[in-house]
């Protein structure tokens, strides 16, 4: 069971904000235990040391937005026994996938004087669009508890058990008051997968879906309710077009409401 050799952990970065890999460094209580349990074989944000592959577990942050990255992820996959994507960018394309709904040339011209210098694809895509992914951790950013649980489970030779249910259930378990029912606030909780601890409703705001769609999500039913609550089609589009805009359930629903 417990391998005699310490497993090698690698952390890779694609287009992202670094927040998900920072989550690992934010595990102040567990970090030294992690370092005891695994070899941090490749983790540039934390160490200069580099151990050669193959790696037992690769954590991949970020989305694919350049041709170079599309090739690089293939190389990462080849060196990784288990590939775990971490965060909204890696699992759905992230906020930068908003470009998928627009003309990326326009975007580049808005920001850069010389877009011709840029090497960039028209889309931001999740890692799973490019290579096989063994497991995914959702969230923008990922949840520290889920990350530690994942590492602890992998060390024992199994994939972790993560919730497949909505944020609502988590919200109720925490004893929060439903912001939609009690205040009429638009909330993506009913269609978003649990994992964050129902943070937004806990702070009396609507969930913005940063953990992405729940496997059972029925966004059409939610949109109908949002419209009753006074949300315009444009607002509904923006609600789904957040940090997981490119996740199929959200993407398709947002398209249904495009003015």
């Amino acid at each position: 069971m417990a391998a005699k050799r310490k497993p090698k952990l690698a952390v890779w970065k694609f287009a992202s904000c670094d927040g998900c890999q920072l989550t690992l460094l934010d595990c102040e209580d567990e970090l030294l235990a992690v370092a005891d349990a695994v070899d941090l074989a490749y983790f540039p944000e934390a160490t200069r040391a580099v151990l050669p592959g193959p790696y037992d577990v690769s954590l991949v942050e970020g989305s694919v937005t350049t041709a170079h990255d599309a090739r690089r992820i293939q190389a990462v996959r080849k060196q990784s026994r288990l590939l775990v994507t971490i965060g909204a960018c890696a699992t759905s394309g992230g906020i930068q996938a908003l470009r998928n709904f627009a003309d990326v040339g326009d975007y580049a011209r808005t920001v850069y004087a010389h877009p011709e210098f840029l090497d960039t694809l028209a889309t931001s895509t999740p890692i799973a669009d490019h290579v096989k992914v063994d497991f995914e951790l959702r969230g923008c950013p990922i949840d520290k508890g889920q990350l530690v649980a994942t590492l602890a489970s992998l060390l024992r030779g199994r994939l972790p058990v993560l919730p497949d249910h909505s944020v609502c259930e988590e919200c109720k378990r925490h004893g929060n008051v439903c912001v939609t029912v009690a205040h009429g606030t638009p909330c993506l909780g009913p269609v978003t997968v649990a994992g964050c601890g129902a943070l937004c409703p806990k702070h009396t705001r609507g969930c913005y879906g940063c953990f992405g769609p729940a496997p059972t999500a029925n966004p059409a039913a939610l949109s109908a309710r949002l419209a009753e609550l006074g949300q315009s089609p444009g607002q509904i589009v923006h609600l789904y077009r957040g940090f997981n805009a490119n996740a199929p359930a959200f993407r398709d629903e947002s398209k249904r409401h495009e003015p």
């Binding site: 069971m1 602890a152 489970s153 024992r156 030779g157 199994r158 994939l159 058990v161």
Partner: protein
């Protein structure tokens, strides 16, 4: 029913040690477990199951596959997923948690005086093995006894040596079939329900108790065959499987209509399940 040895706290396992581990077939293995806390060995009735707990990995319901007359606590397990895959890697002397036994077993006592048919598919033979042991140990209390067993391929035949030993006895019949033969297989090819034949196997449908365990599809067609031959659905028993987190009627996961598989079953007279057995997604 023997008492569950849970120290009054539900869902608390006891530590057991793997005294013997052997591979049966490709991804199926059998363990013999002994208590590791100085406490007594668990007693059970055929058809009951335990919850096996692997530290930090999880817990799974697994039927008891050993001889109810005594000896080590025996489980036969197929590696199919997150927990069982890790269980497969354990070795002799490794420690696991056990709680149980749970559930309603096979009606081996109630069935005395009747003919007994054991109808098993795949790993379904494991939960039936204690019943076979019991019946053979008290052979004189029963009429005809027979075993119909189906496996996918010859390589998937469980307890092969034991089946051969049983086949060698003159006081029961054993029919084994496979879905797909391989080279060198001289036996039957086909599905279990097709084997069922009172005349050929000399049992009296009016006084037969049939014990079924296997994939639901296989059980469904076997029940149909048995009923066609005149076995009353109140005397056809099936063992069911559903997701279980507690095994004691508290977690709600194993509900099938009105039944909790864990405490009302896993063994049911088919008549009781007949209204819901065929319903999809129940």
């Amino acid at each position: 029913m023997p008492q569950a040895a849970s120290h009054g706290v539900p869902m608390l396992p006891r530590p057991f040690r793997i005294a013997r581990a052997r591979r049966e077939i490709r991804n199926v293995f059998t363990w013999e477990l002994v208590p590791d806390d100085g406490g007594p060995q668990l007693g059970f009735v055929p058809g009951q199951f335990n919850m096996l707990y692997l530290h930090g990995v999880g817990e799974v319901p697994i039927s008891i596959s050993g001889d109810p007359a005594g000896g080590a606590l025996t489980h036969t397990i197929r590696a199919v997923g997150a927990v069982t895959d890790v269980l497969q890697k354990l070795r002799r002397d490794d420690s696991i948690g056990v709680r149980g036994p749970y559930g309603v077993g096979w009606p081996v006592v109630e069935a005395e005086g009747n003919d007994i048919l054991i109808v098993a598919g795949g790993l379904g033979l494991a939960p039936l093995r204690p019943a076979i042991h019991h019946v053979l140990a008290h052979r004189e209390r029963y009429g005809s006894v027979g075993i119909y067993y189906g496996a996918r391929t010859p390589a998937d035949i469980l307890f092969r040596k034991e089946l051969e030993r049983w086949r060698g006895r003159f006081d029961l019949f054993v029919e084994v079939t496979v879905d797909a033969a391989e080279r060198g297989w001289g036996g039957r090819v086909g599905v279990v329900p097709k084997l069922i034949d009172p005349k050929r196997h000399n049992f009296d449908p009016a006084h037969t108790v049939a014990l079924l365990c296997g994939p639901e599809m296989m059980m469904r067609y076997s029940v149909e065959a048995l009923e066609r031959h005149g076995v009353d659905s109140r005397r056809i028993y099936v063992s069911m499987e559903r997701n279980m987190h507690c095994a004691i009627g508290l977690c709600g996961h194993c509900q099938l209509g009105s039944e909790f598989i864990c405490k009302d079953g896993p063994v049911f007279p088919f008549a009781r399940l007949a209204p819901v057995f065929h319903l999809r997604e129940l």
